[in-house]
Amino acid sequence: MTTGPDPAAVPAPRSRLWKGALVLAMALTVGLLGIGLTREASRLPSALEGRPMPSFDLPLLDGEGRLVSAEAAGRPLILNFWASWCVTCRQEHPELVRLGLRARARGEFAIAGINYRDDAGNALRFLAREGSFPYASGVDPRGRLGIDFGVYGMPETFFVDAAGIVRGRHAGPVTPAVLAAMLPRIGVVP
């Protein structure tokens, strides 16, 4: 009679503690896994943010002349890396055209394209099909400038302030939401 209740009374709270710890550990593991899996590996912060924009001097995709980084000095600059082989670039195209038209009309910021690792013929065909950009694109056939900017994939867009400091990088298509977040960083009203 005396031995009966004792073993039953002692293990009960302990096993509850064990179960609690087990459940907590499992929840922690699942939580960490969740964080790890939902964090997109490609969404890395740019090493360039807060640093001066790399300079460039590239031939134009279409026509004579060159795309020179120094020409944007004193004005915020939006630099869009694109390619004809990039599917998402087609998706962001109308938004970029709209942005380019605005830059042309108001001139409060500059915008330029970098045709990245592309064939000039394919790039021009892409523009003929999707509609030309209202701004110039320089060509970076070997991706050297892309490496200077720490580009991972296409498309990527860099937001540079009037002082020439990179304030933001966006990997993926430019959307109104992206512009609403990025433009204020370079002193432009979205």
Binding site: T3, P7, L22, L44, P45, S46, A47, L48, R51, R117, R142, G143, R144, G146, I147, D148, F149, G150, Y152, G153
Partner: protein, 155 residues
């Protein structure tokens, strides 16, 4: 009837004998072993291809990695040090470009966590066994204890 069979076998043997000579990396190395080549390879092995999943620029066949290899070669030819070349890519891609990033507090914690868990788990197990052992001898609750132990070892 036997002859064609032999002929076929012979042909097969000949085909196997001249099986495509694989351009093994070892062979390529011995052929083009320029003075700086070993150094370039060693350096390239530490740089991560930014468009791949955990592959060095030496192993990757992506065009970005190839271009980075060209750049490494150029910089070596210019006489830049390994540290300077590493820093060149780090300034552009951040620590991500290093296959062995410099230790950070968070990184150290992540590496230490399994050891901490192991030590903690071992401590808890030892404690539990010491407390239960005397009670286990006379009590009829042995199977439960075994099951507990099993569960613990599984964990």
């Amino acid at each position: 009837m036997i002859r064609p069979a032999f002929l076929a076998l012979g042909l097969l043997g000949a085909l196997l004998a001249v099986a495509p000579p694989r351009p093994g990396p070892a062979a390529a190395q011995t052929v083009a072993e320029a003075p700086g080549e070993a150094r370039i390879r060693a350096l390239a092995r530490t740089l991560r291809c930014p468009v791949c999943q955990s592959e060095s620029i030496l192993e990757s066949r992506s065009s970005t990695a190839r271009e980075m290899m060209v750049m490494v070669r150029e910089m070596v030819a210019e006489g830049r040090s390994d540290a300077a070349i590493t820093e060149f890519f780090r300034a552009r891609y951040g620590d991500f470009v290093l296959l062995a990033p410099p230790p950070t507090a968070a990184g150290r914690l992540v590496w230490a966590l399994p050891l901490l868990f192991l030590a903690g788990g071992g401590g808890v197990l030892a404690l539990a066994l010491r407390r239960r052992a005397p009670a286990a001898v006379p009590s009829p609750g042995r199977p439960a204890l075994d099951a507990d132990r099993l569960r613990e070892t599984e964990l």
